[in-house]
């Protein structure tokens, strides 16, 4: 008897789960599509020596099911992913290195290849604090411009605010040389 009840409970729970999942699917926002998301992973401040160029690695994440054009998307009309930074006056931003994208094509046009980022991708930003800069933590802000698509549709270009910190330190002192022995050391 108790086994029958337990089975009934299990069936009822499964039915309830099915009903709720179906309702949740029906309640999605746009017809069959969620909005794309691109995020910057948080990372501890990168230590940079003043007067010296250092690469800061920024890791981005593209939401599952989406891709964004790479920095070189293989067609002139596509919007490339670009990072623009506003830096404190005493920090010089050098080269921004974008990773190579992966080639993909849409299902209905397998011959037309585009170059994209999906999942995780890293950008490398070269920064060089001036030699006169005061040591300390500095925030660098900017915007990542991207344009995302899924397998069949594209979303308008967006700008992701980007913020990261660098810790500027003094150059370590050169190792001390042993002073030459004075001829008068032994008197």
């Amino acid at each position: 008897m108790s086994e029958t009840k337990s089975n009934a409970n299990r069936i009822a729970s499964a039915a309830a789960l099915f009903l709720l999942s179906t309702a949740a699917l029906l309640a999605q926002d746009t017809p069959g599509r969620k909005a794309p998301s691109v995020t910057l992973s948080s990372a501890p401040p990168t230590t940079v020596i003043r007067g010296k160029a250092t690469n800061v690695e920024l890791q981005f994440h593209v939401g599952s099911g989406f891709h964004i054009n790479s920095n070189k998307p293989a067609a002139e009309y596509l919007i490339p992913t670009t990072l623009k930074l506003d830096v404190p006056t005493d920090i010089v931003v050098g080269k921004i290195t974008y990773p190579a994208g992966e080639e993909m094509s849409f299902a209905f046009a397998p011959d037309e290849k585009i170059n994209v980022y999906s999942g995780e991708f890293d950008l490398s930003v070269q920064v060089r604090p001036l030699a006169t800069m005061l040591p300390g933590k500095y925030e660098i802000r900017g915007r990542l411009r991207y344009q995302a698509c899924d397998k069949a549709a594209c979303f308008p270009p967006k700008q992701l605010p980007v913020e990261f910190e660098v810790k500027v330190i003094k150059a370590p002192l050169p190792p001390k040389k042993n002073p030459a022995q004075s001829p008068h050391a032994h008197t």
Binding site: K5, A8, N9, I11, A12, S13, A15, A16, L17, L19, L20, T22, A23, A24, L26, A27, T30, P31, G32, R33, A35, A75, Y77, L78, I79, F106, F108, A109, E112, I114, Q147, C149, D150, A152, A153, C154, F155, P156, P157
Partner: protein, 183 residues
């Protein structure tokens, strides 16, 4: 504590119904606030400039089946279906079908015209406005295509890229529905 299976199912049904009802209510209020797609299925009328500088109203095409395509120069899937639209305009133009492309991007009119020329587009390309996008439900992604019959009713809509065969089926639908309306 013993749980009655009927109570579990009953609670799930109530919650599911509430979820779906809340969704419908939210969508309805969104439509009202954005003067979105009309409830009687009429395609919202609009007036836009073509890339050639002509003023074009959707209602100018009343009496013709219209394929209204929202696209952008940066949209890869839109570029894939454009040559199909060019072919279909040639094929179904004699049946009265009229394609209209509404460009929803920030590119200049010159760039949009150049892009359309490079795709050999043989139908009017209009410079889109956000208000027109809102009237058609927001156009949150591209391409979006609306199939409008000879009476100005939206018969079908396609969100995202569809196969060439599916597109042709929708065109046949608006041609057929127009024939019914003309009887």
């Amino acid at each position: 504590m013993k749980r009655d299976p009927f109570v579990i199912v009953a609670v799930a049904i109530v919650v599911a119904v509430m979820l779906v009802f809340a969704l419908k209510l939210a969508r309805r209020s969104a439509h009202v606030s954005g003067t979105a797609l009309t409830q009687n299925g009429d395609a919202p009328d609009f007036t836009l400039q073509s890339v050639e500088g002509k003023t074009i109203r959707l209602s100018d095409f009343r009496g013709k089946p219209v394929v209204l395509n929202f696209w952008a120069t940066w949209c890869g899937p839109c570029k894939i279906e454009m040559p199909w639209f060019v072919d279909f305009q040639k094929q179904y133009g004699p049946s009265g079908v009229q394609f209209l492309g509404v460009a929803m991007d920030d590119a200049s009119t010159k760039d949009i015209a150049e892009f359309a020329n490079s795709m050999k587009v043989n139908y009017p390309i209009l410079i889109g406005k956000e208000s027109v996008g809102d009237a058609y439900g927001g156009v949150q992604f591209l391409p979006e295509t609306f199939y409008i019959d000879r009476n100005g009713k939206i018969i079908d809509k396609a969100f995202g890229l569809k196969g060439r065969g599916e597109i042709e089926d929708d065109i046949k639908k608006i041609v057929a529905s127009a024939a019914v309306a003309n009887r």
